[in-house]
Amino acid sequence: MDRAQVDTTIRSLIEPFNKKGVAIEDSTSFANDLEFDSLTVMDFVAAIEDEFDIIISMNQQAEIENYGQLVDAVTKMATDK
């Protein structure tokens, strides 16, 4: 799966969590722009994990601050699987 496909899939997965309809760019940050709290993060991460059948541990999540980094990380995990 290439980065563009991963991007499209995650864009649709994020919709229900993007309550304020923030425009999603690679630089969009989860904590500041999207204001995700810890429970939202868990549900959002679970949705991605289930979709791609991967694990994104909290240690890996700590390295991911914005949307672009998430797409990069998932692309890599989905390819390495």
Binding site: D37, L39, A46, E49, D50, I55, S57, M58
Partner: protein, 416 residues
């Protein structure tokens, strides 16, 4: 004389003036001040001037029924327990001044570990200075780099801190969700070590875990299982061994974590296990090694209390009655509760928001009743809770009095 000299100093305003390492606490300080500005008695600054019994104290000058302690089995004033403590204090002194692995292991420490082995019918027991340190130590030591910890998102802070102290990969799942847990276990790379961490009773809402199913799933995926039974010991299960005993899966639990600061009635923490190599942990577990051991009087009171709890079935039955009566009564009054049925000795009353929660807490304390006010981030889903924890020493009459105080306060604040 130049003009400049007669002018007063005008130091440039520095960027970040007045900011230091404490600035990160400003929002919390502001929230607290806002809450107290309304004249509310500070829920986090209560002083018990005199403790009359496991269920009564003088708090801020008023005689108060205690409904927010973890003294589930009411052992704190048990005559034999106090006598054991006094004797140890006289014979062994006030403290050990040393680590368990150096000069801090006395006869009493071995005796309380023996009492725990008998209580749980397990081979090994290791006693820590607090329950917090038991989780911190065991979790961070057994799950290392490359291993995976799969845990419930509503786990206690000591479990999260144990994860943080170690180097394992941390994978949380939705509270009590068996399928979510199973999916995560299934995706762990082959060959990696796996530890599943669960709690018997989750202390915020007082709900229990479906341990039988969850432990079976964990075992099917080759994971070791650690269950924190802090809030169930002494009360739940035929022998008071906890939720795992009650659901018939204790044999498949690799590590039970518990505490002396709840049903046992003193302070300290422990882990019991049947693992054949368990004893090595005494040498490698840093929160066990690098701290002073419990005072002799504390381990003596704990050992006596644990032995008495083995025969506490009448008290257990009375505590269940109290829990049922309070749950039914609060529900009938129209309060929103954390669980549909009483599942433990904790009954959580859900408040509409922090402000009304604090007002309700104050109305209760003025009416002579102490409960815990719990607020985010300690609570799930940002809830404000009034947590009631019952004691086997609360009489039937006391539970009725408690319901009366709740009714009056709830109507005054407009919650019911």
């Amino acid at each position: 004389m130049s003009e400049g000299i007669s002018q007063a100093d005008r130091p440039a305003v520095l960027e970040g003036e007045g900011r230091d390492l404490f600035s990160k606490f400003d929002p919390l300080i502001a929230m607290r001040e806002g809450l107290l500005a309304g004249g509310v008695e500070d829920p986090f600054n209560l002083v018990m001037e005199k403790v009359l019994s496991p269920t009564r104290a003088i708090c801020n000058g008023r005689e108060t029924i205690l409904l927010g302690t973890y003294n589930y089995m009411g052992m704190t004033f048990d005559r034999d327990v106090i006598e054991a403590g006094k004797q140890a204090l006289t014979e062994f002194g006030s403290g050990t001044t040393g680590s368990r692995v150096l000069n801090g292991t006395y006869q009493g420490h071995k005796e309380v570990e023996r009492a725990l082995c008998e209580f749980y019918a397990m081979d090994h027991a290791m006693v820590f200075s607090t329950g917090y340190q038991a989780n911190l130590g065991i979790i961070s030591t057994i799950a290392g780099k490359g291993d995976y910890i799969v845990l419930d998102i509503d786990s206690h802070a000591s479990i999260w801190d144990g994860c943080k102290l170690g180097d394992a990969e941390i994978v949380p799942f939705k509270h009590n969700d068996i399928e979510a847990m199973e999916k995560r276990l299934r995706r762990i790379p082959e060959g990696a070590g796996k530890l599943v961490i669960l709690e018997g009773v989750y202390s915020m809402l007082g709900d229990i875990a479906p341990l039988k199913e969850m432990v079976a799933v964990a075992k099917r995926h080759g994971a070791m299982v650690l269950v924190d039974e802090a809030h169930s010991m002494g009360f739940i299960g035929h022998h008071g061994r906890g939720v795992a005993e009650d659901q018939g899966c204790l044999e498949d639990v690799d590590f039970v974590i518990g505490t002396f600061s709840k049903s046992v009635g003193t302070v300290g923490g422990f882990c019991v296990s049947n693992h054949p190599k368990f004893e090595i942990l005494r040498l490698v577990c840093r929160p066990y090694v690098f701290t002073a051991s419990l005072p002799p009087s504390v381990v003596a009171t704990a050992a006596m209390s644990i032995r008495k709890l083995m025969h506490g079935s009448n008290k257990r039955a009375h505590l269940w009655e109290n829990s049922k009566t309070l749950h039914q009564g609060l529900k009938a009054l129209g309060f929103q509760l954390g669980t549909d049925e009483p599942q433990s000795a904790i009954i959580a009353v859900i408040m509409p928001d922090l402000e009304r929660g604090a007002m309700m807490w104050e109305a209760l304390i003025k009416g002579g009743l102490y409960v815990n006010l719990a607020r985010p981030p300690a609570t799930p889903a940002n809830m404000t809770l009034l947590r009631c924890s019952l004691c086997a020493e609360h009489t039937e009459q006391e539970v009725q009095t408690i319901l009366g105080i709740f009714e009056q306060a709830g109507k005054a604040i407009g919650i019911i």
